[in-house]
Each structure stands twice: as C-alpha cells, then as structure tokens.
C-alpha cells in the first residue's frame, strides 16, 4: 500500500515546485502508469517512492508519504531498498559490476546473504526471466535490451514488493519492449505492485490498471487504458501520451523536396577484427529525403551510417556524392551525426561559440538565420550544459547546418521523448530537408517513422534487407517488421 497525502516538493536548486498538492493511493498488486509531458513531475514521484528523495536529491518537502507503513523520507535509503526495487531509464549506467551473474547477485550481497543462498536466488531469477543464456557474460558486451533484462533480474533476485520503473522502454527496440512486457506480466501475476513512469503505452494495454495523468506537478485526472486508446492526435500532443494502439496510427503527408542529386554506394564493406560487419553491394539515396534506418539491436545500423559518413578509415568500396567519388576523409568533412548522448558533442562554453566552432569567415547573417530557424536565438549566450536535452539537440543540429554539412545522421533522436516533443522533432527534421541534404535517422520509433520519414532501410546482419519508400502500399512491410497487425 502506497499513500501520498497532500505532497509538495521543491528541488534544492529550483525555485518552482516539482510537485504540488499530490494525493494518490495505490493498493497492493496494482499496476499504475504515471504519464504526462517531460517535466510534469512523474520522475519526482518515483523518487519519492523509492527513497531517493531526500537521500540523493535534496529539497523541501511538505505532506506525507507512506510505503507499506514506512515513511521513505525519514528512513534511510537502504531500508526502503528492501521493499522497493527500481529499474532506471538508461541501461548503460545502472550497473555496478562488470559481470552479469555478479550483477544479479549484487543486491543479495549487500544484504549479507550466504553465498549458497545467493547462488540459488541468481539461478531462480535467471530461470524465471528466461535469461540463463546471459549469465556470466561481460555487461559491456550486451545490447540495450539484454542490459535492461539483467537490471530487472538484479532487482527480482532481492524480491521487493514494489517495483518502480522510470521509463524502462525508452532505449529499447520493439522486440526488447515485448520481452519487457512479459516480465511485467510475470510481476503482475506474482501480485507485485508496479509503478511505471512512461510515455510509450502500446505495450501496456493489458497490464496497467490506472493511468495517472500529471501536469506541472499536479495530478490532473486518471484514465483507463481504454480511454487513452480513444485519444485523438490533438489530445496526444496536448498530454504527451503516446498511442496505445500502433495499428491505427496514421501515415502523415510529408513535404516532398525534388532533387536530382544522389548518394550512391558500391560494394561498401567493413570488418571489425576480421569479422565482416557490413556488406552493401549497391544502394542509392536521393537528396532531400529522410531515410529511416531500422533493424534489431546489433544488426549493423550504426556501422552502416559510420561507414557512409566515412568515420572508419579501413572501409572498402566506393561512395559517390552528387556524382563525384569521395573518399572517407572527404565524407567526414561533410557529415555530422547527432548522437544519442548529445553531451559528447558540445565542446565550448557558449551556444554561439559552439555553432561557429571549426569554421572560418562565415557570415553573421547566416548565424542569425540558423539561430532563428532552430529557435535558439535567445539562448545565444548560455552555456550549452545548462540547456535542456531538446535544446542541446537543437544546438548540435544548428552547428551541423552552419558548417554546411550535407549528410546529417540522427541516432535515436526521439528515444525517451513524449508525444509532443517527438512531434517537435518531426517538424524540426522537415525544416532541415533541402535539395542537397541527405538525412538518415537510426530509429526504433514507429510513430516517428510514420510521421517523418520518406524512405525506410532495414538492416540485418550488416546487409540491407529491405529498402522502400514509405507509402500506403509499403506500409505493410514496416508493420510486418514491427509485428503490428
């Protein structure tokens, strides 16, 4: 039983309240979805329940929180951790050890259990979650989906009554999300209480009992999954909640850009340590299009775009841009990748400096124009690290456009975005379309592909398995890939 009475919370560094006057009661065995736009306070709710506030995040709290009769605010974090297990958003940073088996054992070890008992728990957890094949592996070599399963197993081994999940699907592909769903089904069958903060809802239709919708730190109302399913496009944009059913999601009309320029690839090959990772005999991409690169984790999507943009020195084959043959070095000069971890590509201490970095003698008018276009003109003087995730992404894109990059690559630009922010990214990408720009997007996001992309390339085992322009006729292929019927 979780009870929140008139709870308000304000983080120490902030002047606005992240939660104000929240009342919520969750019965044992319920599965609750916390939803709403980014910054609506759902993550703060999870932090109150798992005790990270105030041990890890300081601030001012009013009201009362009770988790199974214990106040997580006044008791130390380790006491709550017996009762509440948390799975975080980023599979990369929630591991403490480097070996999967010892990771699953970690929670039990901290509780001083005997080695034999720990071994039993680890085996049991692996069996229940169907991950025996992942035991005793190096965590750094697992895919995102596999990492997330290990994260679940490591909580499962401790056997808490409450599971708190903060956007567990945001870094996963649709296959891994389906596996996540079966784990959640198992937890529900065992009568565990599950609290999910999440934008994606298509995998939750049969699982969630109540959806709690929040806006600016307040609980506005509760929905059933049936009600969420009937949402219109406008309602989704307003609430940020992604569609419950993907099968009736519409294919948008896109602005078409006419161009006679092509990026053509012949016999492109690349190997990691003598193991062939990429083999593309022949492919052609038209400028002005947005191409979605899809495929399972580890299929070779990143390898493909890295080879295309010339990051690898040792690749074989030819790539011609606008009819001219270009070696890897020339291609790097005209390519830019907006990374998932956008912090890796912001180098300086002001937005303006960031954008002009590495260029010479380009006009100030052009800079103004791009700042306007990307909607960051009033952030010109700010330090890039003080911006929000979306703003950072726009700064990185602005830099690429200003440098005159022709091949723009986006690595999962919409993972972890709510519906309205995803739509903003769609609009942004449409603005970037031009008759001499090639745009490639590595993505798992079905709604995004339908709203933004003109063409789909499916990669499998380092080869192009399918390549088609996206229209009503070819939509079936995409649906088959996502197993949507």
């Amino acid at each position: 039983m979780i009870e929140m009475k008139d709870v308000s919370f304000c983080y120490a560094q902030s002047d606005t309240e992240s939660l104000c006057g929240v009342n919520l009661s969750i019965a044992d065995g319920e599965c609750i979805l916390l939803c709403g736009k980014s910054g609506c306070g759902k993550t703060t709710m999870t932090r109150l329940i798992n005790g990270m506030i105030p041990d890890f995040y300081d601030g001012e709290l009013k009201g009362e929180v009770l988790v199974n009769g214990i106040n997580p605010i006044s008791s130390p974090l380790h006491e709550i951790s017996d009762m509440v297990g948390t799975v975080f958003q980023n599979p990369r940073t929630q591991f403490y050890t480097m070996n999967t088996t010892s990771e699953i054992a970690f929670g039990c070890e901290n509780r001083g259990m005997e080695p034999d008992a720990i071994r039993k728990r680890v085996t049991q957890a692996a069996e229940d979650l169907g991950i025996q094949g992942l035991l005793d592996r190096n965590i750094f070599q697992l895919s995102g989906g596999e990492k997330q399963k290990i994260a679940f197993a490591s909580i499962y081994a401790v056997n808490p009554e409450v599971y708190v999940l903060d956007e567990p699907s945001s870094n996963l592909d649709c296959f891994a999300i389906r596996e996540l769903r079966s784990i959640l089904e198992l937890l529900k069958a065992q009568g565990r209480t599950v609290i999910l903060a999440e934008h994606r809802t298509w995998y939750l239709e049969e699982l969630v009992d109540r959806a709690v919708y929040m806006e600016q730190g307040k609980i506005v109302r509760e929905y059933s999954m049936q009600e969420l399913k009937r949402f219109t496009m406008e309602e989704r944009i307003e609430t940020g909640i992604r569609p419950v059913s993907l099968s009736d999601y519409p294919l948008s009309e896109k602005k078409s850009v006419k161009s006679d320029k092509y990026l053509s690839v012949q016999d492109l090959r690349f190997a990691y340590k003598k193991e062939t990772a990429l083999q593309i005999p022949d492919a052609k991409f038209q400028a002005g299009n947005i191409t979605a690169i899809i495929g399972k984790n580890g299929a070779g999507k990143s390898t493909f775009v890295s080879a295309l943009s010339g990051i690898f020195k040792k690749q074989k084959g030819t790539v011609c841009m606008d009819g001219k043959r270009q070696n890897p070095k020339e291609r790097v000069a005209v390519s830019y990748m907006v990374m998932q971890e956008v912090n890796h590509q912001l180098f300086t201490d002001s937005v303006e400096e960031e954008i002009v970095l590495g260029t010479q003698g380009l006009s100030a008018d052009r800079l103004e124009h791009i700042l306007e276009q990307m909607d960051i003109a009033d952030l010109k003087e700010r330090h890039p690290m003080t911006l929000s995730g979306g703003q950072k992404q726009r700064v990185a894109i602005a830099a690429a456009v200003f440098c005159g990059k022709k091949i723009l690559i986006f690595d999962e630009p919409t993972s972890g975005l709510d519906f309205s922010h995803m739509m903003q990214t769609v609009i942004l990408l449409q603005k970037l379309k031009s008759p001499d720009t090639y745009i490639f997007v590595i993505t798992h996001d079905y709604e995004f592909i339908l709203s933004a992309c003109d063409e789909v390339v499916q990669i499998e085992m380092g080869c192009i398995k399918e390549k088609y322009s996206l229209n009503i006729k070819s939509l079936k292929k995409l649906r088959d890939f996502y197993q949507i019927n």
Binding site: T86, S102, F106, R111, G112, M337, H344, F347, M385
Partner: protein, 242 residues
C-alpha cells in the same frame, strides 16, 4: 574475468592486490639503480603473469626493454635539447611502469563486488567504500565515453592529431575534457544512485558470491613484498643507497 579453474592462474584476494600496489610503489622509489628497477619490474611481471594477465605482462616487459635500450642510445647526446627531453620522458615513463602495471591489473582482474566485499572486510568507513567503488566502476565507462567523444570531435573537424596537439594544445585538450568530465560526472551520479537503491550502503555484514579470503599465495606474495619493504627501509635509515 579470471576465475579459479578456468585457466592456470591464481585469483588473488583484492586486499592482497591493493597492498601489493601500495608496497611496490613505495619500494620502487627507494632505489635508483637500473638493476634494482629491473628487479621490481620483473617481480611485477611475475605477479601479472600468475595473476591472469600473461599477455600484458609480456607487453610491459617488452616496453621496458625498449625504453632501456632507447635510453642507452640517447645518453651520449643529452646536451642537445631534443635528446635531453627524450631522455627525460623515457626515464619518467620507465619509472612509473610498475605502478601502471599493477593498477591496470587490479582494475582488469577484480570484479567490483569482490572489491567492495574486501573493503567491507577491511572495516573501511562506508562513505569511503561508496566513493572508491564508484570510481573503480567508472574506468571502463570512461573508455566508452572517450571513444564516442573522439568520433564527435572528428565530425566537427577538431579531432586529436599531432598537428593540432602542437599548434593549439590547450584548446584541443579543452574540447576533449569538457564533454568527458561532464559525461563522467553524469555517469557516476547515475551509477551511485542505482547502487544505493540496491542497498550498497546497508550497514552490517556484506557478503560476496565468489568467496573473498586469503589463500597461501596471498600470504606468500604479501610476505615477500613486506619483507622487501622493511629491508629497504632499514638500509635507507642506515644510509645505504641501492
């Protein structure tokens, strides 16, 4: 990761590894002759070889030999600036080689959980354990982040190369370290949060699935290093130079 029975190697207790690292670093700086240095390095190579890192032991030995030979070649020309600089660098790196070897060995062959269990056994304060183990866990992540930042720099045309390191070293370093520090800070924060939510700071007894205990080889190597250290201290107090 090395385990008993997997390969012919000895799985030292993390406490032994830490003690060896500290003692051998002190021992290293107590003597100055080339023969003495070589002895320390051979001892470290022996530890690595039987501790599960035969390849890197061989690699470090080769590097050491190259440096010794290089110094021998450079020595006659130390009056020329470039050569004296080269001489200085070779001596510095050579001197530090055993520390690097043991540090790398400690990180590469120790599972974080046994490291933490060992620290709890040593009765080290809780806060120190949390900080050190987060640091310990951060190294492999830094490597991942580093690679990704290199790609990002390449795409902006500010990649690390010799020319840029010479013409604008400060700038280039800044471009590398600003994103690196920020991501390492973020990562260590998230790591610590996840670990605390799983009871890392629980008071009382912590265990480890792989038992952490001293075995005969732990005692042998600790004895050798400790006696060596004592002998060196005694010699040093009496004014003998080695």
């Amino acid at each position: 990761m090395n385990r008993d029975g997997n390969r012919l190697c000895l799985n030292f207790d993390p406490r032994t590894k830490i003690l060896l690292l500290i003692e051998l670093d002190i021992i290293l700086f107590m003597g100055h002759s080339l023969i003495y240095e070589t002895c320390v390095l051979l001892f470290c190579s022996l530890i690595l070889a039987i501790g599960g890192q035969r390849k890197s032991a061989a690699k470090f030995l080769t590097v050491y030999m190259v440096f010794v030979v290089m110094q021998w070649f450079v020595d006659p020309y130390v009056e020329i600036f470039i050569f004296s600089l080269l001489h200085f660098i070779t001596v510095c790196v050579r001197k530090l080689l055993p520390c690097i070897m043991l540090g790398k060995w400690l990180i590469a062959t120790t599972e974080v959980s046994s490291f933490v269990a060992a620290l709890w056994k040593m009765k080290i304060p809780r806060d120190v354990i949390i900080t050190t183990s987060v640091m310990f866990r951060c190294f492999p992540t830094i490597k991942e982040e580093w690679e990704s930042i290199q790609i990002a720099m390449k795409m902006r045309g500010i990649d690390l190369n010799m020319k840029r390191m010479v013409t604008s070293p400060v700038r280039t370093m800044e471009y590398l370290f600003v994103p690196l520090f920020i991501s390492v800070l973020n990562v260590s924060d998230e790591l610590a949060a996840a670990a605390l939510c799983r009871g890392l700071d629980k008071p009382g007894h912590h265990t480890c699935m792989e038992p952490v205990c001293f075995r005969w080889f732990d005692y042998v190597f600790m004895m050798v290093a400790t006696i060596w250290l004592f002998v060196m201290c005694a010699l040093w107090i009496r004014g003998y130079a080695v």
